[in-house]
Amino acid sequence: MTGLRLAWRFLRRDLRAGEVRVLLAALALAVTAVTAVSFLTERAERALVLEANRLLGGDAVLRADEPIGEAPRALARAAGLAQAETWQFRSMLRAGNDLKLAEVRGLGEGFPLRGRYRIDEGTGERDAAGIPAAGTLWLTRAGAERLGAQLGQTLRLGRSEFRLAALVAEEPDAAMDYFNLAPRVFVRLDDLPATGLVQEGSRMAYRLVVAGEGGQAQRFVDAMQGRLERGQRLETMADARPEVRSALDRADRFLGLAALVAVILAAVAVAMAARRHGARHLDGCAVLRCLGASQRLISTIHVGEVVLLGALGSALGVAGGFLAQAMVVGWLGEVMGIAVPPAGWQPVAQGFAVGFAVLLAFAVPPVLALRRVPALRVLRRDAGAAEPGAFTVLAAGFLGIAALMLWRAGSPTLALTLLAGLAATFLALALLALALVALLARLRSRLRGPWRYGLANVSRRRAAAVAQVASLGLGLMAILLLTLVRTDLIERWQASLPADAPNRFLINVQPDQLEGVRGLLRRHGETAPELFPMVRARLARVNGAAVTGETYAARGERARHLAEREFNLSAVDALRESDNAVVAGAFWARGDASPQLSVEQGMAETFGWKLGDVVGFDIAGSHFEAPITSLRRVNWESFRPNFFVLTPVGPLQAHSASYLSSARVAAGDASLTRDLVGTYPNVSVIDVDAVVAQVRRTADQVSVAVEYVFHFTLLAGVLVLLASVSASQDERLLEGAVMRVLGARTAQLRLAHASEFLAIGAIAGLVAAIAASVISGVIAVQVFEQAWLPDWRMAALGSGLGVGIVVLAGLVATRRIARMPPAQTLRALAG
């Protein structure tokens, strides 16, 4: 008790005297950075998911082939979710004398919960305010063209007549099924009974769409999982189009990386400030020992002080982080063009956890070492420097960072890659710093005055110099890493969504029409039209055992869904390498016709398939089986035809196939469609402009969020590093004042400091840049699944940044010496 009371008293006194201000400031700044980045990443993530959920019309969808009972609605209500319902079925739609099979969607009040319909009522496109008015319907623009229907015309659906009030240009959930060709009709749900089309035995699809704050929708999905009835299925973003999902996944990982970088910087700042804290308390501890304090009491007092300081610093930091992100988040929303939802309380918990963890890991070992200070130090100041064992500090610090990163990363691969990189970088930095120290020791006799003084400092404070080079290097590495990954990511997005992405898909081309269609596409400007066979298949056996959706239920909803649905197999002679890359095994040689499969990497992961697994498909009643010989990474954002499963040309020839192609046409140019449909009436042309626009919008929003979080983290990082370098200035200030007494002019003081910092900054920056390049390469390949091109300009940038930060911090310190009479500096530092 005495110990804790004393700890509190000491902390108050230290605060008043300014003794712990540097540590407190470093801690508060570090926690501010972590908290603000956490808040910001969480809010950006939520905004992006919310935006992507437009593709579902809500956050989650319960689909059923029977009317949905009360239980799921009650569950959604209990979870505080908004809900809306849609019914969907096929029926004939009559416009004048023209009759077409249409897909009818009855929209319940409130739909869509996310996103908007874009409609044209004859006065240009706009966002619809709600659902069609009673007695009216909306029709997709393509559907109206097929029917030859005009706005204002009366259309008949079952027993009812409706006025065509608007043409739909974009649907919130169209991207889910753009291969659906039938004209789509939208009416009010309560107008449906009068049509007489909804009857016992009608083939209907019922959807209950829900949306809510934070994790509410996920809780609903979790709760529903065990209660699904026959014919019911849940859909979330996991079922969204792969183009959109992969953009979001990468953004999510980047934001995770930004948060990790903030944690590393926090650790660096606190580690540097804690060293100084321990050194400043040596004399006080010697006096306490002199006055009879036991080692245990000294430990209790100082560890207690650190814990109290942790609480105070973390609280200040969390408050600062909250304020910082609140100030900038409005701007983020404005630039992204969407509302940014508030974050939960997790960043607060994270702020405190990070604050305490880094403080305990880095500040406790030096503080515990204080108990070994001999009382003799009262008389001889050079007695007992009480340095903690380097291994203790390293081990404690590394374990602390490792725990925090595994907790925060979300992706174990990301955390482990980064941890391994950190350990290797630290080792390299320490070794290089030692080499530098040795080199300077040899060089010093050739240098003069201020140069010698500065460089002598590096070699004298060997432990401090190594610690400083390593900490600074790690901080710089983290910043550079983020820069590299972000550059890769943004460039990749820009490259993957080229302005000439195909915007028309041609399907149902018959084998005897291939040459004709190819010629027609050429005439419309496609230089090398590609046509891919498509064979509808259903997964049937894996390694000889029959499989169904249930077999994969344990691997998640997406696995079950994929196993149940039909998908398209295609055959190619050679791999298109612009958007496909083999990541395992080998792709077949041109002309090889042996049965084998190349599977998209994500799909193989979802099912847990490996190279060599033999996968069998049901193709219109016959069986096709082949081993997996390669896994591919597919860039879905290319928007060119891509397939989950490919075979060589040959094995599938026995099965009937239709062909698929894609083309790029100018906006509003209908000539390709007209020519194609005129010549080959069976061919369907699908306009994916709306989907491309949606994906591009998502990618743009993701880029903005990534840029924004990046710049914020960068700024926080530079500030944290500046603060931590400044924290180690006391000794330099004292020596600077002594040099001043001996006649050193300002320029000489600056030179002395600059030479020391130049060495430290350059070596830390250089190693940081090399490490960041290598780690970002591993992360690019392993986590972001993209190729890596080393960028050695970063090495120069890293050294520049390192030198810039330390020299700036050094100049700030020398300014103080240069301005103040030396007696005042000496007094201030002695006190």
Binding site: G449, R452, E735, V738, M739, L742, R745, P821, Q824, A830
Partner: protein, 234 residues
């Protein structure tokens, strides 16, 4: 700063001159006067002790005389220069060229060895060969065998001898010593003082020495008594 413009013509043989010197500091409880109306002149080559009780202001007076601190009022002339006409850099240059120091806490730079510490003042004023004179003066103080030792490897007495060597190596016109034996035992202190006076005699340097030791003060030519911030006897 231009030294010529600050050169006084009225000082004559004066090495140090204090004119109506005041030093006040602001505290939360109000203004505290540390020194008030100090007037004296120290002639070139003179050895002067400044004595007084703890807290009387003698160390502050030394700081002002050496240009380590700035007065609240009055003027100091050091080696013919008016300090108020110089900025921090100008005062640093003046110290580097004409002033030496010895401190109670030695104030050696821990990152430099004994030789390098002594070379530093010469290097700071741009002398090409600092090593020779530094080595010679270290040998003169009996540390010829310990040139490459760092301050932490030297005893208190040895550290103060390095400090003396550093003070004399630049052949200063004025040497300021602040309680030079304060951190040393009697025997070592006595040896250091003997050395200080010997070197002072050899170089003809003006010596201004702050001490509370009457015996040490008695070895000087003159004693200035400071009591509660005022000069009571000169």
């Amino acid at each position: 700063m231009n030294h010529a413009s600050a050169r006084s013509t009225a000082s004559g043989q004066a090495a140090v001159r204090a004119v109506k010197l005041d030093k006040r500091v602001s505290l939360p409880s109000g203004e505290l006067t540390i020194l008030e109306g100090i007037d004296f002149t120290i002639r070139a080559g003179e050895r002067v002790a400044i004595v007084g009780a703890s807290g009387s202001g003698k160390s502050t007076l030394l700081s002002l005389l050496a240009g380590l601190d700035v007065p609240s009022g009055g003027e100091v002339e050091l080696a013919g220069e008016r300090l108020s006409a110089l900025d921090e850099d100008g005062r640093a240059k003046l110290r580097g060229e004409r002033v030496g120091f010895v401190f109670q806490a030695f104030q050696l730079l821990p990152s430099l060895n004994a030789l390098e510490n002594v070379m530093l003042p010469l290097e700071l004023r741009g002398e090409r060969d600092a090593r020779g004179p530094a080595k010679a003066v270290l040998e003169a103080v009996g540390l010829g065998e310990r040139l490459n030792h760092y301050p932490r490897q030297l005893s208190g007495g040895e550290q103060q001898r390095v400090a003396l060597a550093r003070a004399f190596v630049a052949r200063p016109q004025v040497l300021f010593a602040d309680e030079p034996t304060g951190n040393l035992d009697t025997h070592t202190g006595e040896a250091v003082i003997k050395l200080l006076f010997r070197m002072n005699a050899e170089s003809g340097t003006t010596l201004v020495l702050v001490t509370h030791d009457p015996a040490l003060a008695a070895r000087c030519d003159r004693t200035l008594h400071i009591d509660a911030g005022r000069l009571v006897a000169a």
